[in-house]
Structures are given as structure tokens and as C-alpha cells.
């Protein structure tokens, strides 16, 4: 029996997104906040659960690879390391802190009624459009600063089996996580109704990441859909210009969908393709999941009488993050929940850039945006 790939992919991504949205809202799983609070308050509670998320994904992906569930390894749209990973990561870190949420945090907060996150979302789309304008220049920069061409992960660069590196890293990491667990550093009391302990959300999100990798052929990703939206909206106003931009014409995704054995392709342009089938339902699912969680808890409420500086911060942070998502290329979800768990060097560089970027964002947030 042959199964049409698009409806299947769309349903899977919608369900995965819906479940992710609920769990992120319940635990307030804000990755931007994790990095910001490290620099601002020296709080590492949430960041510890991100370590668990990366390690858990690492173990799940490796087990799935060993039993033959991941024919695409490394997964598509993951490239050799380049300086662009660091520069993009830095801008991304800055943008996510100013926006008050990363590319997925913005979605679940928006779903729960955050007006500022909706403004940040508009910024994300505008930033993606700005990237399309500078794409030829930036693509040349990526090309000229790529090293280890043809090799993506650390095991590939070192010429060893992934297991040789992943086993010790995962074992050491889990030792650390178990120590945190025994010391009570992975749980905290909360009076929030229906609170989901973030470590449980981390484990659940890693299972959703694996579900996507096995059933779709790659881990969770969503920012190309923001570029597509920018293309659709831009086409309303200046169709010819949008059609002339190289970024919107490119089709970087070309792969065989393992589950249906179908050849699929996709890109950031305003047209329906494999990326649309994966990412639009995922985005919609996250917003709907979070919204239904907030409504069920009677916590959905729109507050819009807020300081102007916060609106400016959310919008400009969104623009920077949208731009950075394409420059890096791709976002924190792709790199931290997908690339890092398979020891992709581009993801390591992205993280190396993300940290100073988030530090700078935290400084700006306190000394400019929230200055009393």
C-alpha cells in the first residue's frame, strides 16, 4: 500500500506540535530564559533540564541509529561547520533574550495569550524577509568560511563511529544528571496550577524529537516556515521582487522520506512543499496545544497595556532572531535538540555563539529595556 506523504507528515507534525505546546506551557519551558537567567540571576535550574534534554535526545537518537531506525544520519539540512554558525548563534542569542522567547518559546507564549510574543512573531517574519535580501552576500560568506567540507559531525571529522564518542559523553552527562536528581536539583515547588516539572517536559520533548526524526526523517525544525510566511506576505505587496530573490527560489531540502520511501523537496520560498507539510502544522500545533492548556487552566488572558519599550524590545528581538535563524543557519531547536545530540560541529559552534549573545541580550534587557 502506498501512503501519500504530505497528509501523513502534516498529521504527525500537528500532533507532535500540539503535545509539545501543552508540555511547554505547563512547565514554562523557555530556552531563552534559561540562558538569560544564567547571566542575570546566576540561576541554573532550568538550564540543567536543557542538559537533560540534549543528553536524552543523544541517547535516544543513538539507540535508534544502532537499531536501524535512522537511515538519514546525519539528517538533511545539517551542514559542515562555518564561522556563520558562531556569528548567527550570537545574533540569535541576543535576539531571543530581547524577544522574551526563542523561536518556539515565542509560539507557546503567543498561544497562551502573550501580546508581546505575538509582536515578536511578527518580528521573526520580518527578520526572515531581511535575510532573503542579504542572502547572496551571506551565502558567499558561509561558503568561504566553511571548514571540514563534507564532514558534519565530530565523529565524521575524527573518522570514528558515532558510538565511540557518544557513549562516554552520554555516560558522563547522565552521571551528572543523576547527581542533580539525588541532590534534589531537578525539581522545584510551584503553586502554578497543573505545573509540569521541567525535567519531565525535557524528557517528553526528547521523545517528540525522536518521533520526528524517525517518522519525518529529521528532528524538529520550524524557522523555514517563518521565511515562507515572509515570502507569502511579501508577495502580496511586491510579487516580482520576491520572485526575483535567490533565497526564495532555492530548494535546499532534497531527500527520500524514509517512512513512505518518497522523494521530497522543499525550501524557504512561498510555495507548498515538504517544508510546508512539516513546519506549518508543527507551528500551528504548538500554538494550539499551548492555547488549549492555557484555556483549560483559565489562564488565557490578553494583557496589552504594557510599556512601549517592551514592545520595541520584543519586535526588534524578533527581527534579529528571524535574521539570525537564516544566518546561523537555523535555530536553537534545530541545533540543541537535533544537531548537538549527534555531535554536529555546526551546532557546537552555534551554542558557542549563543552564550555571549544571550549575555549581551541580558545586559541590554536590564540596563535599557527594563530600566526603571
Amino acid at each position: 500500500m502506498t501512503v501519500a506523504p504530505y497528509p501523513l507528515i502534516m498529521i504527525i507534525c500537528l500532533v507532535v506540535g500540539y503535545l509539545a505546546g501543552i508540555s511547554m506551557h505547563r512547565s514554562d519551558y523557555c530556552m531563552a530564559g534559561m540562558f538569560r537567567d544564567l547571566f542575570l540571576f546566576k540561576r541554573t535550574f532550568m538550564l540543567r533540564t536543557l542538559v537533560l534534554l540534549v543528553l536524552s535526545s543523544m541517547i535516544l537518537f543513538e539507540v535508534a541509529r544502532l537499531i536501524g531506525f535512522l537511515p538519514l544520519y546525519p539528517f538533511p539540512l545539517l551542514y559542515s561547520p562555518t564561522l556563520a554558525n558562531i556569528v548567527g548563534g550570537m545574533l540569535f542569542g541576543l535576539g531571543m533574550v530581547l524577544a522574551g522567547g526563542c523561536v518556539v518559546g515565542t509560539l507557546y507564549k503567543m498561544g497562551a495569550g502573550s501580546v508581546l510574543s505575538t509582536v515578536a512573531f511578527a518580528g521573526l517574519i520580518l527578520g526572515s524577509f531581511f535575510y532573503a535580501e542579504i542572502h547572496p552576500w551571506w551565502a558567499a560568506f558561509i561558503k568561504s568560511t566553511t571548514f571540514f567540507t563534507g564532514r558534519i559531525t565530530l565523529p565524521q571529522i575524527l573518522g570514528v563511529s558515532p558510538f565511540i564518542l557518544i557513549f562516554p559523553v552520554a555516560a558522563l552527562g547522565m552521571f551528572l544528571v543523576l547527581r542533580w536528581k539525588n541532590e534534589g536539583k531537578l525539581v522545584r515547588p510551584s503553586a502554578a496550577e497543573g505545573y509540569l516539572q521541567p525535567w519531565k517536559a525535557a524528557l517528553f520533548l526528547s521523545v517528540l524529537g525522536l518521533t520526528s526524526y524517525v517518522l519525518i526523517g529529521m528532528p524538529l525544525g520550524l524557522t523555514s516556515s517563518y521565511a515562507k510566511l515572509s515570502g507569502y506576505i511579501g508577495s502580496i505587496f511586491f510579487r516580482d521582487h520576491i520572485a526575483s530573490l535567490a533565497y526564495y527560489q532555492a530548494i535546499p531540502l532534497k531527500y527520500v522520506h524514509p517512512l513512505t520511501n518518497t522523494y521530497l523537496q522543499g525550501g524557504g520560498g512561498p510555495r507548498f512543499d515538504a517544508i510546508s507539510a512539516m513546519q506549518f502544522p508543527l507551528v500551528a500545533g504548538i500554538i494550539l496545544g499551548s492555547m488549549s492548556s492555557a484555556v483549560a487552566l483559565r489562564e488565557f488572558h490578553l494583557y496589552y497595556k504594557l510599556p512601549l519599550k517592551q514592545y520595541v524590545s520584543a519586535f526588534s528581538g524578533g527581527i534579529i532572531m528571524g535574521l539570525a535563524s537564516r544566518m546561523a543557519p537555523t535555530c536553537n531547536v534545530w541545533h540543541l535538540m537535533g544537531g548537538l545530540p549527534i555531535l554536529a560541529t555546526s551546532s557546537m559552534l552555534f551554542l558557542a555563539g549563543l552564550l555571549p549573545g544571550a549575555w549581551l541580550g541580558s545586559k541590554l534587557m536590564v540596563h535599557v529595556v527594563l530600566r526603571r
Binding site: Y195, R298, E299
Partner: protein, 83 residues
């Protein structure tokens, strides 16, 4: 007997980390009056993360905290002494 003065802050819908930052600044600002039992500070917030972090920070500073849920928000009340 002193009249208890309640200082109210509405930080609903604000960008993170405005909620925790405001709370910490206000607690520090009124630390003396809090300790003397002259004031009580009430924060209205819809930020689920802050519902953990504000009580934790206030408790670490030695102030008793109560959290109650309202319609679309949580009310975090910090007082200087056990009631």
C-alpha cells in the same frame, strides 16, 4: 499598632524577566519596612515561571510568601513576618 500598608504591582503580560526583576527590586527597596512588618507587597502576575522563582527568592531572603490564583493571574503576596 501600625496599619499594614499593601504595595501592589501589576506585572501581568510583561516581557521576561520583568516579573522577577521587578519583584527583587521592590523587595530590596522595601526590605526595612517589610522586616518591621509595616508593609506587605502584592504582585499580580501571569508568568508561570515567576510563580516558582519569586516565592523561592523571597523565601531565601526570609520573607513568608503566599500564592493565590485569580481570574487569569496569580497573586503573590510577600510579608515581613509570619501572620
Amino acid at each position: 499598632m501600625l496599619t499594614l500598608n499593601i504595595i501592589r504591582y501589576d506585572i501581568c503580560g510583561q516581557i521576561c524577566p520583568s516579573t522577577l526583576l521587578t519583584a527583587l527590586q521592590v523587595i530590596n527597596e522595601y526590605s526595612q519596612q517589610l522586616s518591621d512588618g509595616e508593609v506587605k507587597i502584592a504582585f499580580k502576575t501571569d508568568n508561570r515561571d515567576a510563580i516558582s522563582t519569586i516565592p523561592e527568592s523571597a523565601a531565601n531572603m526570609g520573607y513568608p510568601v503566599t500564592v493565590t490564583k485569580g481570574d487569569g493571574y496569580y497573586l503573590i503576596e510577600i510579608s515581613g513576618a509570619e501572620e
